[in-house]
Amino acid sequence: MEDLSFQHTARERAGGTKPIAIVGVVASGNLEVLVERVLPGTECQLEIKTAAVGFGEVWKAVIGDFVERYSPGGLRFSINDGGARPDTVSLRLAQAVRLIGEGGQ
């Protein structure tokens, strides 16, 4: 297992008011993303526990792209990864932002 942590400052705060959302399951090639609206301002934090060791640079690229596209300010993401491919990670992150943003901007 490898633990990774990323801190970003997003352009703006994420939409919606839900405090928490969760998507995905921890299985081979899949991951779960728990997202919580707990950070001040436009801070964004991602904590990852992954079964696939040595892919820190790939995570860094995927998450940099995600923060740029979705501007998830104020959100903390906690990820348990079962060795998902980068496209699956991007999909789950997008789903998590969408789910926590449901119920009005």
Partner: protein, 312 residues
């Protein structure tokens, strides 16, 4: 999670969503009345397994079990759903303790039934002793809840089936609903083959596995009380039907269950294959049962009759 789903009414989603393919969370959301589910010890509590990190294995924030309360057709229910894709839905220490706690809460309250959406390969081998103890605690908690008047309904239609200790727990429930892809057994196909040889059970013969352990045979044998099509709505309807049918639990019922099982052994104990058992029940063209659609099968099963209401 995608735009079209968001704008579809929940009951329509329940009718069109495969129970087998849905996640534990989706099953719970669509099975209960819309918006009624409140989770206990949710993923934000991060009550993860204390054992998996020792094996360098990934954890899941809910340890593969969603538990909570909600409403079913307006009435309160407790519900537990195993995530069959996380470690095969297997029982570990935390996973098991969450279910035990839910059943004990139901025992104290007495009037609120429990739905258990079993989807499991059995005990999580990495947590061997803790997992085995969890099974024993859950079986006791099911029986204690039932003795306090609680109806405990098992719903089985997940990808991992209901095996090992999950099979034992299912045998303790007040009633079971099953779909065709749902399988119920204690020893799984590969375990039987490993221990008794391929002549006893060929685990690669999928047709054999399903006609022996699958939902159709379990319904015809009387192990499951209701057979449903593989939709979340089907399981919701089945749960409501079973809740209306299950009667009081006590010594008389246990004796009736013992008698039912003894009769079954007497009548069908020499059958070498499920097809022989179906033929012995008087089903014409028994070999065609696996090919019947859900509707056709339900019609057939209703002619055979149900498990006696006095038993279980």
């Amino acid at each position: 999670m995608t735009a079209p789903l968001k704008h579809t009414v929940p009951s329509e989603r329940a009718r069109t969503t495969s129970f087998n393919e849905a996640s534990a969370r989706t099953r719970v959301e669509l099975l209960l009345d819309a918006g009624s589910f409140v989770e206990f010890i949710g993923p934000e509590k991060r009550e993860v397994s204390p054992h998996l990190k020792i094996f360098d294995l990934p954890e899941q924030f809910d340890d593969g079990l969603v538990v909570g309360g909600g409403r079913l057709d307006g009435s309160p229910v407790f519900i537990a759903a195993q995530e069959g894709r996380f470690m095969g839905g297997a029982f570990g220490e935390v996973h098991g303790a969450k279910l035990t706690g839910l059943l004990r809460a139901a025992r104290e309250i007495e009037s609120v039934p429990v739905l258990i959406l079993l989807d499991t390969g059995g005990v999580r081998l990495q947590e061997a002793n803790a997992g085995e103890l969890a099974i024993a605690e859950i079986m006791r908690a099911v029986m204690e809840a039932r003795m306090a008047g609680v109806k405990v309904i098992g719903l089985i239609g997940g990808r991992s089936g209901c095996y090992g200790g999950g099979g034992l727990i299912s045998g303790c429930c007040s009633a079971l609903a099953v779909s065709e892809p749902g399988r119920i057994a204690v020893s799984g196909p590969e375990v039987i083959e490993t221990n008794r040889g391929v002549e006893e059970f060929d685990s690669r013969d999928r047709a054999l596995v399903w006609r022996t352990m699958g939902g159709k045979n379990r319904r015809l044998q009387g192990a499951a009380d209701v057979f449903t099509d593989d939709t979340v709505q089907g399981f919701r309807d089945a749960a409501l039907e079973l809740l209306s049918l299950v009667g009081a639990f006590g010594l008389d019922r246990l004796k009736a269950e013992q008698a039912r099982l003894a009769d079954r052994l007497q009548n069908f104990g020499t059958c070498a294959d499920a097809i022989d058992l179906w033929a012995a029940q008087g089903i014409a063209q028994a070999e065609q049962v696996p090919d019947l659609s859900a509707d056709q099968f339900i019609s057939l099963a209703n002619t055979i009759g149900r498990t006696s209401r006095e038993a279980r």
